[in-house]
Protein backbone atom coordinates (compact mmCIF):
# COMPACT_ATOMS: atom_id res chain seq x y z
CA UNK A 1 0.00 0.00 0.00
CA UNK A 2 1.28 3.44 -0.88
CA UNK A 3 0.01 6.72 0.46
CA UNK A 4 -1.13 9.22 -2.15
CA UNK A 5 -1.49 11.97 0.41
CA UNK A 6 0.72 12.46 3.45
CA UNK A 7 0.17 15.34 5.82
CA UNK A 8 2.07 16.22 8.98
CA UNK A 9 1.62 19.10 11.41
CA UNK A 10 -0.51 20.99 8.92
CA UNK A 11 -2.06 24.26 10.06
CA UNK A 12 -3.81 27.06 8.26
CA UNK A 13 -4.94 30.26 9.86
CA UNK A 14 -6.24 33.49 8.43
CA UNK A 15 -5.64 36.98 9.72
CA UNK A 16 -2.49 38.18 11.41
CA UNK A 17 -3.62 39.42 14.80
CA UNK A 18 -3.55 36.80 17.51
CA UNK A 19 -6.99 37.77 18.75
CA UNK A 20 -8.81 37.82 15.43
CA UNK A 21 -6.94 34.89 13.97
CA UNK A 22 -9.15 32.21 12.45
CA UNK A 23 -7.79 28.71 12.73
CA UNK A 24 -9.20 26.79 9.78
CA UNK A 25 -6.97 23.75 10.15
CA UNK A 26 -4.90 22.95 13.22
CA UNK A 27 -2.01 20.51 13.41
CA UNK A 28 -3.50 17.93 11.05
CA UNK A 29 -1.61 14.74 10.36
CA UNK A 30 -2.87 11.79 8.32
CA UNK A 31 -2.26 9.69 5.23
CA UNK A 32 -4.60 8.66 2.43
CA UNK A 33 -3.84 5.29 0.87
CA UNK A 34 -3.95 4.78 -2.85
CA UNK A 35 -7.05 3.45 -4.60
CA UNK A 36 -9.44 3.82 -1.70
CA UNK A 37 -12.57 5.83 -1.11
CA UNK A 38 -11.90 8.13 1.82
CA UNK A 39 -14.59 10.03 3.66
CA UNK A 40 -13.81 13.52 4.92
CA UNK A 41 -16.60 14.04 7.41
CA UNK A 42 -17.48 16.97 9.55
CA UNK A 43 -19.98 19.72 10.15
CA UNK A 44 -20.28 22.75 7.92
CA UNK A 45 -17.39 25.07 8.60
CA UNK A 46 -15.32 22.36 10.26
CA UNK A 47 -12.48 22.93 7.80
CA UNK A 48 -13.20 20.30 5.13
CA UNK A 49 -12.97 22.63 2.14
CA UNK A 50 -9.89 24.44 3.47
CA UNK A 51 -8.17 21.10 3.97
CA UNK A 52 -8.95 20.02 0.40
CA UNK A 53 -7.78 23.38 -0.94
CA UNK A 54 -4.51 22.89 0.91
CA UNK A 55 -4.11 19.41 -0.55
CA UNK A 56 -4.67 20.75 -4.07
CA UNK A 57 -2.37 23.75 -3.76
CA UNK A 58 -5.24 26.23 -3.97
CA UNK A 59 -4.44 27.46 -0.47
CA UNK A 60 -1.06 28.02 1.14
CA UNK A 61 -0.30 26.29 4.43
CA UNK A 62 0.62 28.42 7.43
CA UNK A 63 2.84 25.61 8.68
CA UNK A 64 3.35 21.91 8.29
CA UNK A 65 4.07 19.47 5.52
CA UNK A 66 1.93 18.25 2.62
CA UNK A 67 2.97 15.51 0.21
CA UNK A 68 0.70 14.53 -2.65
CA UNK A 69 2.06 11.77 -4.87
CA UNK A 70 5.24 12.29 -2.86
CA UNK A 71 5.63 15.99 -3.66
CA UNK A 72 4.51 19.39 -2.49
CA UNK A 73 1.35 20.18 -4.51
CA UNK A 74 1.74 23.97 -4.60
CA UNK A 75 2.41 25.14 -8.18
CA UNK A 76 3.48 21.60 -9.01
CA UNK A 77 2.24 20.66 -12.46
CA UNK A 78 3.29 17.03 -12.03
CA UNK A 79 1.05 16.63 -9.02
CA UNK A 80 -1.84 18.85 -10.08
CA UNK A 81 -2.13 17.10 -13.44
CA UNK A 82 -3.38 14.06 -11.54
CA UNK A 83 -5.81 15.89 -9.30
CA UNK A 84 -9.43 16.94 -9.81
CA UNK A 85 -11.14 19.16 -7.27
CA UNK A 86 -14.40 20.83 -8.28
CA UNK A 87 -15.45 22.75 -5.20
CA UNK A 88 -19.03 22.80 -4.01
CA UNK A 89 -18.86 26.59 -4.42
CA UNK A 90 -16.93 26.39 -7.71
CA UNK A 91 -17.24 29.55 -9.76
CA UNK A 92 -17.45 29.43 -13.55
CA UNK A 93 -16.91 32.16 -16.14
CA UNK A 94 -20.06 34.23 -16.66
CA UNK A 95 -20.45 33.26 -20.30
CA UNK A 96 -20.07 29.53 -19.65
CA UNK A 97 -22.80 27.10 -20.55
CA UNK A 98 -22.69 23.47 -19.46
CA UNK A 99 -21.30 22.50 -22.85
CA UNK A 100 -18.33 24.82 -22.36
CA UNK A 101 -17.43 23.06 -19.13
CA UNK A 102 -17.65 19.71 -20.90
CA UNK A 103 -15.60 21.01 -23.84
CA UNK A 104 -12.76 22.49 -21.76
CA UNK A 105 -12.42 19.84 -19.04
CA UNK A 106 -10.92 17.08 -21.26
CA UNK A 107 -7.84 19.22 -21.92
CA UNK A 108 -7.08 19.21 -18.22
CA UNK A 109 -7.54 15.52 -17.45
CA UNK A 110 -5.40 13.01 -19.27
CA UNK A 111 -7.76 10.11 -18.48
CA UNK A 112 -10.99 11.94 -19.37
CA UNK A 113 -13.63 9.59 -20.79
CA UNK A 114 -15.77 11.40 -23.32
CA UNK A 115 -18.38 8.66 -23.73
CA UNK A 116 -18.72 8.29 -19.99
CA UNK A 117 -19.23 12.05 -19.66
CA UNK A 118 -21.96 12.01 -22.33
CA UNK A 119 -23.64 9.10 -20.62
CA UNK A 120 -23.58 10.91 -17.28
CA UNK A 121 -25.02 14.08 -18.80
CA UNK A 122 -27.92 11.99 -20.02
CA UNK A 123 -28.38 10.09 -16.77
CA UNK A 124 -28.29 13.23 -14.62
CA UNK A 125 -30.44 15.07 -17.18
CA UNK A 126 -28.21 18.12 -17.26
CA UNK A 127 -29.33 20.78 -19.77
CA UNK A 128 -26.17 21.12 -21.86
CA UNK A 129 -27.12 24.42 -23.47
CA UNK A 130 -28.01 26.23 -20.28
CA UNK A 131 -25.83 28.92 -18.73
CA UNK A 132 -23.98 27.80 -15.61
CA UNK A 133 -25.41 30.83 -13.80
CA UNK A 134 -28.95 29.70 -14.56
CA UNK A 135 -28.55 26.14 -13.29
CA UNK A 136 -30.37 25.00 -10.17
CA UNK A 137 -28.28 23.99 -7.17
CA UNK A 138 -28.81 20.34 -8.05
CA UNK A 139 -27.82 20.79 -11.69
CA UNK A 140 -24.71 22.66 -10.59
CA UNK A 141 -23.80 19.78 -8.29
CA UNK A 142 -24.46 17.34 -11.13
CA UNK A 143 -21.99 19.17 -13.39
CA UNK A 144 -19.35 18.95 -10.65
CA UNK A 145 -20.08 15.26 -10.19
CA UNK A 146 -19.87 14.60 -13.95
CA UNK A 147 -16.49 16.34 -14.24
CA UNK A 148 -15.23 14.54 -11.14
CA UNK A 149 -16.29 11.12 -12.40
CA UNK A 150 -15.39 11.50 -16.08
CA UNK A 151 -11.98 13.02 -15.24
CA UNK A 152 -10.89 9.65 -13.80
CA UNK A 153 -8.19 11.69 -12.07
CA UNK A 154 -5.91 9.51 -9.92
CA UNK A 155 -6.87 11.74 -6.97
CA UNK A 156 -10.43 13.02 -7.17
CA UNK A 157 -12.18 15.16 -4.57
CA UNK A 158 -15.95 15.37 -4.30
CA UNK A 159 -16.98 18.33 -2.15
CA UNK A 160 -20.51 17.94 -0.75
CA UNK A 161 -21.48 16.50 -4.13
CA UNK A 162 -25.12 15.86 -3.28
CA UNK A 163 -26.20 19.47 -2.55
CA UNK A 164 -29.54 20.10 -4.20
CA UNK A 165 -29.67 16.64 -5.76
CA UNK A 166 -32.85 14.69 -5.20
CA UNK A 167 -32.84 11.17 -3.76
CA UNK A 168 -32.78 9.55 -7.19
CA UNK A 169 -29.82 11.59 -8.40
CA UNK A 170 -27.91 11.04 -5.18
CA UNK A 171 -28.35 7.31 -5.44
CA UNK A 172 -27.32 7.53 -9.08
CA UNK A 173 -24.13 9.29 -8.02
CA UNK A 174 -23.28 6.72 -5.35
CA UNK A 175 -24.01 3.78 -7.68
CA UNK A 176 -22.03 5.29 -10.55
CA UNK A 177 -19.13 6.12 -8.28
CA UNK A 178 -18.99 2.55 -6.97
CA UNK A 179 -19.29 0.93 -10.38
CA UNK A 180 -16.70 3.20 -11.98
CA UNK A 181 -14.37 2.96 -9.00
CA UNK A 182 -14.49 -0.83 -9.25
CA UNK A 183 -13.47 -0.69 -12.91
CA UNK A 184 -11.03 2.19 -12.62
CA UNK A 185 -9.59 2.18 -9.11
CA UNK A 186 -8.37 5.57 -7.99
CA UNK A 187 -8.09 7.58 -4.83
CA UNK A 188 -11.33 9.32 -4.00
CA UNK A 189 -12.02 11.79 -1.22
CA UNK A 190 -15.68 12.33 -0.46
CA UNK A 191 -16.37 15.35 1.71
CA UNK A 192 -19.77 15.33 3.29
CA UNK A 193 -21.85 15.95 6.37
CA UNK A 194 -24.55 13.46 5.28
CA UNK A 195 -22.65 10.56 6.70
CA UNK A 196 -25.22 7.77 6.80
CA UNK A 197 -25.77 8.01 3.05
CA UNK A 198 -22.16 7.37 2.20
CA UNK A 199 -20.91 5.36 5.16
CA UNK A 200 -21.09 2.05 3.26
CA UNK A 201 -19.10 3.45 0.36
CA UNK A 202 -16.17 4.43 2.51
CA UNK A 203 -13.12 2.42 3.31
CA UNK A 204 -11.40 5.02 5.42
CA UNK A 205 -12.80 7.87 7.45
CA UNK A 206 -11.38 11.19 8.55
CA UNK A 207 -13.51 13.31 10.83
CA UNK A 208 -12.59 16.95 11.17
CA UNK A 209 -14.03 19.24 13.80
CA UNK A 210 -13.07 22.86 14.37
CA UNK A 211 -10.05 22.34 12.17
CA UNK A 212 -8.75 19.30 14.01
CA UNK A 213 -8.72 15.72 12.79
CA UNK A 214 -10.51 13.90 15.59
CA UNK A 215 -11.04 10.51 13.96
CA UNK A 216 -8.72 8.81 11.47
CA UNK A 217 -9.71 5.16 11.11
CA UNK A 218 -10.84 2.44 8.76
CA UNK A 219 -14.60 2.46 8.31
CA UNK A 220 -14.89 -1.17 9.38
CA UNK A 221 -12.92 -0.62 12.52
CA UNK A 222 -15.04 2.41 13.32
CA UNK A 223 -18.37 0.74 12.72
CA UNK A 224 -18.01 -1.74 15.56
CA UNK A 225 -16.18 0.67 17.78
CA UNK A 226 -19.10 2.15 19.66
CA UNK A 227 -22.42 0.82 20.81
CA UNK A 228 -25.40 2.26 22.64
CA UNK A 229 -26.09 0.63 25.98
CA UNK A 230 -29.68 1.18 27.09
CA UNK A 231 -31.42 0.23 30.32
CA UNK A 232 -32.30 1.31 33.87
CA UNK A 233 -30.21 4.27 34.93
CA UNK A 234 -28.52 2.46 37.83
CA UNK A 235 -27.55 -0.51 35.68
CA UNK A 236 -26.21 1.71 32.88
CA UNK A 237 -24.18 3.76 35.33
CA UNK A 238 -22.78 0.67 37.00
CA UNK A 239 -21.86 -0.83 33.65
CA UNK A 240 -20.21 2.31 32.30
CA UNK A 241 -18.38 3.33 35.45
CA UNK A 242 -15.04 2.00 34.23
CA UNK A 243 -15.66 2.36 30.51
CA UNK A 244 -15.15 5.14 28.02
CA UNK A 245 -18.44 6.92 27.36
CA UNK A 246 -18.82 9.21 24.33
CA UNK A 247 -22.27 10.43 25.04
CA UNK A 248 -25.08 10.03 27.58
CA UNK A 249 -28.79 10.67 27.47
CA UNK A 250 -31.55 9.78 29.84
CA UNK A 251 -35.29 9.81 30.21
CA UNK A 252 -36.71 9.31 33.70
CA UNK A 253 -35.31 6.10 35.06
CA UNK A 254 -33.96 5.04 31.68
CA UNK A 255 -30.51 5.91 30.48
CA UNK A 256 -28.53 5.41 27.32
CA UNK A 257 -24.78 5.63 26.99
CA UNK A 258 -22.63 5.41 23.87
CA UNK A 259 -19.72 3.24 24.87
CA UNK A 260 -16.45 3.11 22.96
CA UNK A 261 -14.50 -0.03 22.24
CA UNK A 262 -16.89 -2.62 23.61
CA UNK A 263 -15.52 -6.09 22.84
CA UNK A 264 -17.44 -9.39 22.74
CA UNK A 265 -16.91 -10.03 26.45
CA UNK A 266 -18.17 -6.53 27.19
CA UNK A 267 -21.24 -7.12 25.09
CA UNK A 268 -22.02 -10.34 26.92
CA UNK A 269 -21.50 -8.58 30.23
CA UNK A 270 -23.94 -5.87 29.20
CA UNK A 271 -26.58 -8.41 28.17
CA UNK A 272 -26.08 -10.30 31.42
CA UNK A 273 -26.63 -7.05 33.30
CA UNK A 274 -30.03 -6.79 31.58
CA UNK A 275 -28.96 -3.97 29.27
CA UNK A 276 -29.92 -3.67 25.63
CA UNK A 277 -27.36 -3.01 22.95
CA UNK A 278 -28.12 -0.89 19.92
CA UNK A 279 -25.97 -0.20 16.90
CA UNK A 280 -24.45 3.25 16.57
CA UNK A 281 -24.29 4.42 12.97
CA UNK A 282 -21.26 6.23 11.70
CA UNK A 283 -23.31 9.40 11.59
CA UNK A 284 -24.39 9.11 15.21
CA UNK A 285 -20.85 8.31 16.18
CA UNK A 286 -19.55 11.41 14.47
CA UNK A 287 -22.27 13.58 15.95
CA UNK A 288 -21.61 12.28 19.42
CA UNK A 289 -17.90 12.71 19.02
CA UNK A 290 -18.09 16.20 17.62
CA UNK A 291 -20.51 17.69 20.15
CA UNK A 292 -18.71 16.54 23.26
CA UNK A 293 -15.06 16.64 24.09
CA UNK A 294 -13.02 14.72 21.57
CA UNK A 295 -12.46 11.11 22.48
CA UNK A 296 -10.92 8.54 20.22
CA UNK A 297 -13.64 5.92 19.88
CA UNK A 298 -11.27 3.37 18.40
CA UNK A 299 -9.27 3.31 21.61
CA UNK A 300 -9.66 0.04 23.40
CA UNK A 301 -10.93 -1.97 20.45
CA UNK A 302 -9.58 -5.50 20.70
CA UNK A 303 -6.91 -6.08 18.06
Amino acid sequence: MTAVVEVAGLSKHYGGERGSRVHAVTDAGFALEENRIHGLLGRNGAGKTTLMQLLTGQEFASSGEIRVFGQNPVENAKVLDRVCFIKESQRYPDDFRVKHVLATAPRFFADWDEDFADELVERFRVPVGRRMKKLSRGQLSAVGVIVGLASRAPLTFFDEPYLGLDAVARRLFYDTLLADFAEHPRTVVLSTHLIDEVSNLLEHVLVIDEGRIIIDADADELRGSAVDVVGPRGAVEAFTSDREVLHRTGLGGLASATVAGLDEAGRTAARDAGLELAAVSLQQLVIRTTIGESVDPTKGTPE
Binding site: N35, A77, R82
Partner: protein, 255 residues
Protein backbone atom coordinates in the same frame (compact mmCIF):
# COMPACT_ATOMS: atom_id res chain seq x y z
CA UNK B 1 -6.05 -6.10 -4.67
CA UNK B 2 -3.08 -4.40 -6.23
CA UNK B 3 -4.69 -2.94 -9.32
CA UNK B 4 -2.58 -0.04 -10.46
CA UNK B 5 -4.16 3.12 -11.73
CA UNK B 6 -3.39 3.53 -15.39
CA UNK B 7 -1.08 6.51 -15.61
CA UNK B 8 -1.40 8.53 -18.78
CA UNK B 9 1.58 10.52 -19.94
CA UNK B 10 1.66 14.01 -18.44
CA UNK B 11 0.80 16.84 -20.80
CA UNK B 12 3.61 18.88 -22.29
CA UNK B 13 4.27 22.36 -20.94
CA UNK B 14 3.04 24.17 -24.11
CA UNK B 15 -0.22 22.24 -24.11
CA UNK B 16 -0.67 23.05 -20.43
CA UNK B 17 -0.50 26.75 -21.33
CA UNK B 18 -2.53 26.43 -24.53
CA UNK B 19 -5.46 24.84 -22.70
CA UNK B 20 -5.76 28.05 -20.66
CA UNK B 21 -6.14 29.95 -23.94
CA UNK B 22 -8.88 27.50 -24.91
CA UNK B 23 -10.50 27.89 -21.50
CA UNK B 24 -10.67 31.67 -21.72
CA UNK B 25 -11.93 31.58 -25.32
CA UNK B 26 -14.27 28.61 -24.77
CA UNK B 27 -17.26 30.72 -25.65
CA UNK B 28 -16.33 32.60 -28.86
CA UNK B 29 -19.52 34.63 -28.57
CA UNK B 30 -17.88 36.67 -25.83
CA UNK B 31 -14.41 36.93 -27.26
CA UNK B 32 -15.08 37.28 -31.00
CA UNK B 33 -18.68 37.47 -32.15
CA UNK B 34 -20.12 40.02 -29.76
CA UNK B 35 -17.32 42.63 -30.00
CA UNK B 36 -17.42 42.64 -33.80
CA UNK B 37 -21.21 42.70 -33.84
CA UNK B 38 -21.32 45.69 -31.53
CA UNK B 39 -18.54 47.45 -33.44
CA UNK B 40 -20.45 46.81 -36.67
CA UNK B 41 -23.59 48.30 -35.19
CA UNK B 42 -21.75 51.38 -33.93
CA UNK B 43 -20.16 51.77 -37.34
CA UNK B 44 -23.54 51.65 -39.09
CA UNK B 45 -25.01 54.22 -36.73
CA UNK B 46 -22.00 56.46 -37.30
CA UNK B 47 -22.37 56.13 -41.02
CA UNK B 48 -26.03 57.14 -40.83
CA UNK B 49 -25.09 60.13 -38.65
CA UNK B 50 -22.47 61.22 -41.19
CA UNK B 51 -25.13 60.99 -43.86
CA UNK B 52 -27.35 63.32 -41.82
CA UNK B 53 -24.54 65.75 -40.94
CA UNK B 54 -23.19 66.05 -44.46
CA UNK B 55 -26.67 66.49 -45.90
CA UNK B 56 -27.21 69.42 -43.56
CA UNK B 57 -23.88 71.25 -43.46
CA UNK B 58 -23.67 71.73 -47.22
CA UNK B 59 -20.51 72.03 -49.26
CA UNK B 60 -18.87 74.85 -47.30
CA UNK B 61 -19.01 73.08 -43.90
CA UNK B 62 -17.96 69.74 -45.35
CA UNK B 63 -14.20 69.94 -44.73
CA UNK B 64 -14.73 71.18 -41.20
CA UNK B 65 -17.08 68.35 -40.42
CA UNK B 66 -14.76 65.75 -41.91
CA UNK B 67 -11.90 67.10 -39.86
CA UNK B 68 -13.99 66.96 -36.72
CA UNK B 69 -14.88 63.34 -37.36
CA UNK B 70 -11.19 62.47 -37.28
CA UNK B 71 -11.42 63.00 -33.54
CA UNK B 72 -14.38 60.66 -33.19
CA UNK B 73 -13.93 58.18 -30.36
CA UNK B 74 -16.59 55.78 -31.58
CA UNK B 75 -14.12 52.96 -32.18
CA UNK B 76 -12.81 53.28 -28.63
CA UNK B 77 -15.65 51.17 -27.39
CA UNK B 78 -13.92 48.00 -28.55
CA UNK B 79 -10.86 48.80 -26.45
CA UNK B 80 -12.91 49.29 -23.32
CA UNK B 81 -14.67 46.03 -24.10
CA UNK B 82 -11.28 44.29 -24.19
CA UNK B 83 -10.37 45.77 -20.82
CA UNK B 84 -13.56 44.33 -19.34
CA UNK B 85 -12.94 41.04 -21.13
CA UNK B 86 -9.51 40.80 -19.50
CA UNK B 87 -10.99 41.54 -16.07
CA UNK B 88 -13.64 38.84 -16.51
CA UNK B 89 -11.19 36.31 -17.91
CA UNK B 90 -8.78 36.68 -15.00
CA UNK B 91 -11.38 36.90 -12.28
CA UNK B 92 -13.59 33.99 -13.33
CA UNK B 93 -11.33 31.64 -15.25
CA UNK B 94 -8.71 31.62 -12.49
CA UNK B 95 -10.71 29.59 -9.94
CA UNK B 96 -11.90 27.15 -12.60
CA UNK B 97 -8.39 26.66 -13.98
CA UNK B 98 -7.12 25.87 -10.49
CA UNK B 99 -10.03 23.47 -9.93
CA UNK B 100 -9.04 21.77 -13.16
CA UNK B 101 -5.50 21.36 -11.79
CA UNK B 102 -3.56 24.17 -13.46
CA UNK B 103 -0.77 26.03 -11.75
CA UNK B 104 -0.96 29.79 -11.27
CA UNK B 105 2.09 30.15 -13.50
CA UNK B 106 0.44 28.28 -16.37
CA UNK B 107 -2.69 30.31 -15.90
CA UNK B 108 -0.80 33.62 -16.03
CA UNK B 109 1.14 32.58 -19.12
CA UNK B 110 -2.04 31.28 -20.78
CA UNK B 111 -4.00 34.42 -20.02
CA UNK B 112 -1.13 36.60 -21.32
CA UNK B 113 -0.92 34.54 -24.49
CA UNK B 114 -4.69 34.79 -24.96
CA UNK B 115 -4.52 38.56 -24.74
CA UNK B 116 -1.61 38.83 -27.17
CA UNK B 117 -3.45 36.63 -29.67
CA UNK B 118 -6.71 38.51 -29.29
CA UNK B 119 -4.86 41.83 -29.60
CA UNK B 120 -3.29 40.58 -32.84
CA UNK B 121 -6.63 39.40 -34.21
CA UNK B 122 -8.40 42.66 -33.41
CA UNK B 123 -5.47 44.72 -34.73
CA UNK B 124 -5.71 42.85 -38.04
CA UNK B 125 -9.47 43.42 -38.16
CA UNK B 126 -9.15 47.11 -37.43
CA UNK B 127 -6.36 47.47 -40.00
CA UNK B 128 -8.53 45.83 -42.64
CA UNK B 129 -11.27 48.28 -41.65
CA UNK B 130 -8.82 51.18 -42.03
CA UNK B 131 -7.70 49.94 -45.44
CA UNK B 132 -11.31 49.65 -46.62
CA UNK B 133 -12.03 53.09 -45.25
CA UNK B 134 -9.14 54.45 -47.26
CA UNK B 135 -10.08 52.58 -50.42
CA UNK B 136 -13.74 53.64 -50.33
CA UNK B 137 -12.96 57.29 -49.67
CA UNK B 138 -14.25 57.15 -46.13
CA UNK B 139 -17.14 54.79 -46.88
CA UNK B 140 -18.29 56.99 -49.70
CA UNK B 141 -18.77 59.96 -47.40
CA UNK B 142 -15.24 61.01 -46.44
CA UNK B 143 -15.94 59.74 -42.93
CA UNK B 144 -13.40 58.55 -40.39
CA UNK B 145 -14.08 55.59 -38.16
CA UNK B 146 -10.94 53.46 -38.13
CA UNK B 147 -8.32 56.05 -39.06
CA UNK B 148 -8.95 58.53 -36.25
CA UNK B 149 -6.15 60.68 -34.84
CA UNK B 150 -5.50 58.32 -31.89
CA UNK B 151 -4.67 55.54 -34.27
CA UNK B 152 -2.34 57.61 -36.39
CA UNK B 153 -4.71 58.82 -39.10
CA UNK B 154 -3.36 57.77 -42.46
CA UNK B 155 -0.48 55.35 -42.05
CA UNK B 156 0.99 52.52 -44.08
CA UNK B 157 -0.87 49.33 -43.16
CA UNK B 158 1.96 47.78 -41.16
CA UNK B 159 2.30 50.85 -38.95
CA UNK B 160 -1.48 50.99 -38.58
CA UNK B 161 -1.40 47.35 -37.53
CA UNK B 162 1.33 48.04 -34.97
CA UNK B 163 -0.53 51.05 -33.52
CA UNK B 164 -3.71 49.04 -33.05
CA UNK B 165 -1.79 46.13 -31.60
CA UNK B 166 -0.10 48.33 -28.99
CA UNK B 167 -3.37 49.93 -27.98
CA UNK B 168 -5.11 46.59 -27.62
CA UNK B 169 -2.28 45.18 -25.51
CA UNK B 170 -2.39 48.25 -23.31
CA UNK B 171 -6.09 47.79 -22.58
CA UNK B 172 -5.86 44.03 -22.09
CA UNK B 173 -3.04 44.30 -19.58
CA UNK B 174 -4.56 47.27 -17.79
CA UNK B 175 -7.54 44.97 -17.24
CA UNK B 176 -5.17 42.22 -16.15
CA UNK B 177 -3.52 44.22 -13.40
CA UNK B 178 -6.79 45.39 -11.86
CA UNK B 179 -8.33 41.92 -12.07
CA UNK B 180 -5.23 40.41 -10.46
CA UNK B 181 -5.42 42.88 -7.61
CA UNK B 182 -9.07 41.92 -7.16
CA UNK B 183 -8.41 38.17 -7.23
CA UNK B 184 -5.59 38.58 -4.71
CA UNK B 185 -7.07 41.10 -2.29
CA UNK B 186 -10.73 41.45 -3.34
CA UNK B 187 -12.63 44.77 -3.26
CA UNK B 188 -10.50 46.28 -0.52
CA UNK B 189 -7.34 45.80 -2.54
CA UNK B 190 -8.99 47.27 -5.61
CA UNK B 191 -10.14 50.37 -3.72
CA UNK B 192 -6.66 50.84 -2.30
CA UNK B 193 -5.14 50.44 -5.76
CA UNK B 194 -7.51 52.98 -7.28
CA UNK B 195 -6.64 55.37 -4.48
CA UNK B 196 -2.92 54.90 -5.06
CA UNK B 197 -3.22 55.20 -8.85
CA UNK B 198 -5.47 58.25 -8.50
CA UNK B 199 -3.09 59.95 -6.09
CA UNK B 200 -0.13 59.16 -8.31
CA UNK B 201 -1.92 60.60 -11.35
CA UNK B 202 -2.83 63.78 -9.46
CA UNK B 203 0.74 64.00 -8.22
CA UNK B 204 2.23 63.68 -11.71
CA UNK B 205 -0.19 66.22 -13.15
CA UNK B 206 0.55 68.63 -10.31
CA UNK B 207 4.27 68.16 -10.75
CA UNK B 208 4.07 68.76 -14.50
CA UNK B 209 1.89 71.80 -13.99
CA UNK B 210 3.98 73.35 -11.21
CA UNK B 211 7.23 72.78 -13.06
CA UNK B 212 5.57 74.05 -16.24
CA UNK B 213 6.72 70.92 -18.07
CA UNK B 214 3.60 70.23 -20.10
CA UNK B 215 5.21 71.64 -23.20
CA UNK B 216 8.02 69.20 -22.75
CA UNK B 217 5.51 66.34 -22.61
CA UNK B 218 3.74 67.43 -25.78
CA UNK B 219 7.05 67.97 -27.48
CA UNK B 220 8.20 64.50 -26.52
CA UNK B 221 4.99 62.98 -27.88
CA UNK B 222 5.32 65.01 -31.06
CA UNK B 223 8.93 64.00 -31.31
CA UNK B 224 8.14 60.32 -30.84
CA UNK B 225 5.34 60.51 -33.34
CA UNK B 226 2.21 58.35 -33.10
CA UNK B 227 4.11 55.13 -33.69
CA UNK B 228 6.74 55.97 -31.09
CA UNK B 229 4.17 57.10 -28.55
CA UNK B 230 2.02 53.98 -28.76
CA UNK B 231 5.13 51.84 -28.65
CA UNK B 232 5.87 53.42 -25.27
CA UNK B 233 2.56 51.88 -24.13
CA UNK B 234 4.25 48.50 -24.33
CA UNK B 235 6.22 49.39 -21.21
CA UNK B 236 3.23 49.76 -18.86
CA UNK B 237 1.64 46.74 -20.57
CA UNK B 238 4.64 44.56 -19.86
CA UNK B 239 4.90 45.86 -16.30
CA UNK B 240 1.18 45.11 -15.74
CA UNK B 241 1.57 41.60 -17.12
CA UNK B 242 4.51 40.89 -14.84
CA UNK B 243 2.86 42.44 -11.76
CA UNK B 244 -0.30 40.51 -12.59
CA UNK B 245 1.63 37.25 -12.46
CA UNK B 246 3.37 38.20 -9.22
CA UNK B 247 -0.03 38.94 -7.67
CA UNK B 248 -1.68 35.75 -8.92
CA UNK B 249 1.28 33.66 -7.81
CA UNK B 250 0.12 33.96 -4.21
CA UNK B 251 -3.61 34.29 -4.89
CA UNK B 252 -6.18 31.77 -3.68
CA UNK B 253 -9.61 30.79 -4.94
CA UNK B 254 -11.35 31.87 -1.77
CA UNK B 255 -14.58 33.87 -1.84
Amino acid sequence: MTTMTAVSAPRSAPSRVWRIVRLITANPTTTVVLPWAILGTIFLLNWLIWLLIFANVGAEGMTDAQEGIQWSGAAFYIFVYMLVLAVQAINLSFPLALGYGSTRREFSLGAGLTFVLLAAMYAVGMTVGAALENATGGWGLGGTFFRTIYFGGDQPWYLQLWIYFCWFLFFFFTGTIFASVYVRWKALGLIATFAVVGLAAVGVIALLTLSESWNMVWETIAHLGVVGSVSVLLIPSAVSALLGYLLLRRATTRG
